[in-house]
């Protein structure tokens, strides 16, 4: 199958899946909404709640998948995900700080704002640590990501323990760290939608460069790619998309790792096909995961991160075994 044909068929199939998942999300829940009465006034409030969640799921799922895809390509590491470069722990630290200090009560924008600022600061720190002259080698980048993640987590645990002492906010932090698509206002959907939408459009313009970069930096340079500049730009896009997604939904794990891999297993490594299809698949995956998170218990809901990890963990092991040869080399 040619790349073009793959793209057309893939988009048709995955768009259909996304639409089905979206409508399924509107119907599913502890309170049943009959399909025929989807637009009845009686159910309007419920449909609004569910539609907002599903939309956020599509945005966050697509954003995290594309961010993961970019990082896997640029870092040339199959285990890379949107959180390897410290975004998650930076955002987590920012969110935990405002939740545990009580500042979060000021307004609904405080936690997302603090998480986003934390994410950006963490990325800047990782970047500064990794820089060697004007270049940013992949190895030092990964290592500084690991270190910043470790130090930020230790600070987070310190904060959490002082919070046990004050008896507040710890549940909020735990909840946030596992991620959730609970959304109460329109603005998080709009803001994240714009950030992720713009990120995906820009990524689509760089699919050729992504293809070239995944061969290796040296060959890419020989092919005339301005490697460092392209890398920087792609890092910025991946980080901003991740930051926006994490700010509105917390740390939903595994999506950004498994979705690009799963799509790659089916359609092959061409980023021209991978980028649009991963965005669609990521959105669909997260909407379905959220349906499970909302309905698996007879009452209440689970953090969606529990579901994505449950599905993603085994898949991760599968990938690890599949890539074993490559990793040990």
């Amino acid at each position: 199958m040619t790349a073009r044909k793959k793209l057309v068929v893939g988009i048709a199939v995955l768009s259909a899946a996304l639409v089905v998942a979206f409508f399924w999300a509107l119907i599913a829940g502890h309170a049943r909404v009959p399909i025929g009465q989807l637009f009845a006034e009686k159910y309007a409030p419920l449909i609004k709640v569910r539609a907002a969640r599903a939309l956020l799921g599509i945005i966050v799922g697509a954003g995290l998948s594309i961010a993961g895809l970019i990082l896997q390509a640029v870092l040339r590491n199959p285990l890379a995900d949107p959180y390897v470069l410290g975004v998650s722990s930076g955002a987590g630290l920012g969110a935990a700080l405002v939740m545990l200090s009580g500042v979060a009560a000021v307004g609904s924008w405080v936690v997302p704002g603090a998480a986003f600022v934390g994410a950006v600061l963490a990325i800047l720190l990782v970047y500064a640590l990794a820089r060697v002259g004007r270049a940013v080698p992949v190895y030092t980048l990964l290592l500084s990501g690991v270190i910043v993640n470790a130090v930020a987590s230790s600070l987070l645990i310190f904060l959490a323990h002082t919070a046990i002492a004050r008896g507040r906010g710890l549940r909020s932090v735990m909840w946030w760290l596992l991620g959730s698509l609970q959304v109460f206002e329109a603005w998080p959907v709009v803001v994240a939608g714009i950030a992720v939408g713009a990120g995906i459009v820009i990524t689509l313009l760089f699919t050729r460069d992504l293809n070239v970069l995944s061969i290796g930096e040296e060959p890419a340079a020989h092919l005339g790619l301005r490697v460092e500049r392209t890398k920087k730009l792609l890092f910025v896009i991946a980080s901003l998309m991740t930051g926006a997604a994490v700010a509105v939904s917390g740390l939903i794990g595994f999506v950004g790792l498994i979705v690009p891999h799963a799509v790659r297993l089916i359609v092959g490594p061409d980023n021209k096909v991978l980028v649009p299809l991963s965005a669609l698949a990521g959105g669909t995956f997260l909407v379905i995961a959220d349906i499970i998170a909302r309905t698996i218990r007879p009452f209440g809901e689970l953090p969606i991160g529990v579901i994505t990890a449950f599905v993603g963990g085994p898949f991760f092991i599968y990938l690890l075994r599949r890539h074993r040869g490559k990793l040990s080399r």
């Binding site: 409030p45 609004k48 609970q182 109460f184 009452f299 953090p303």
Partner: protein, 291 residues
């Protein structure tokens, strides 16, 4: 340059260890302090104050905040988790908890020769029983009985018998992140029922439970009580949540945000205050409904 950084880091590390050691140290006693009591729960602290035992209270938890005088007492524990070294140093005669969260602590406390009293307080009856047990253990059994009788009388007066049809559906929000409420077997569920309401989360299996916004909208509560106004549960926030404008309570403006959460969430001697407050809210609702 690099060497300087390293040395500074080492000095900071050791300095931090020294500073926190000095600040936390307390002299060790060799035998129990006669009559001294340590409380491991805010509700226990409230009970001790209510029984006039505050002078014997030598240590409380980090979250004990009522009455205000409790905040000035030495903090020797997190909720249900005593700092064993501080207990060793203080050697009170009696340690009172609702439940020990740290099972190992029990053995350690016993070895210290300190008496441990666990007084479970999951329902109104258990609270009243706890007050009597604590009173008896501290040697003020008569005062405790009088106190309990007084609370029991107020509870009986505030408890109403209303047919199910007239009971408003009530959603009590304890936190907005995650959205949580009180389910079956909780102190709050008990209070709502006695005061004449119907808890929308009565079917939830856990006393403290996460609730989906979906479930709140679907169960269409007639009264919303946001018991976390201080942490962002304001009327404006609740009214403007996506899809919530269709909820009866929001349409009718029955969102209560000025109820002190400790009155209903903390199973202490102020239980009658909490019950009376809820009963007033529900009575006002019934009055509104009768034409």
């Amino acid at each position: 340059m690099k060497r300087w950084c390293l040395w500074t880091a080492v000095v900071c590390f050791v300095g931090l260890a020294m500073a926190s050691t000095v600040r936390r140290q307390v002299a060790v006693r060799d035998r129990p302090l006669k009559g001294a009591i340590v409380s491991l729960a805010p509700s226990v602290t409230e009970i001790l104050f209510a029984l006039g035992l505050q002078d014997r209270l030598v240590g409380v938890t980090t979250i004990c905040d009522y009455p205000p005088a409790a905040k000035r007492l030495p903090k020797v524990a997190d909720f249900g988790v005593p700092d064993i070294e501080l207990l060793y140093a203080l050697k009170p005669e009696l340690v009172i908890a609702t439940e020990l969260r740290d099972p190992e602590a029990k053995g350690v406390i016993a070895r210290l020769g300190v008496r441990l009293l666990e007084a479970k307080q999951g329902s109104i009856e258990e609270v009243l029983a706890a007050i009597e047990t604590i009173g008896a253990a501290a040697g003020v059994a008569d005062a405790a009985r009088v106190h309990v009788d007084r609370i029991r009388e107020r509870i009986a007066r505030a408890t109403v018998d209303v047919p199910a049809a007239q009971r408003p559906r009530v959603y009590i929000e304890l936190s907005s992140h995650p959205l949580s409420t009180a389910g079956q077997g909780s102190f709050i569920d008990d209070l709502i029922h006695r005061a004449g309401g119907r808890n929308i989360a009565h079917d939830a299996a856990n006393p403290w439970t996460i609730i989906s916004p979906d479930d709140v909208v679907a169960s269409n509560p007639e009264i919303i009580i946001a018991a976390h106004a201080a942490t962002g549960g304001t009327r404006y926030v609740i009214e403007n949540r996506i899809g919530w404008s269709g909820i009866s309570a929001v349409k009718a403006g029955r969102i209560i945000t000025d109820l002190n959460p400790d009155l209903i969430a903390r199973p202490g001697p102020r239980v009658a205050d909490g019950l009376e407050a809820l009963a007033r809210i529900f009575a006002a609702y019934r009055e509104e409904q009768t034409p």
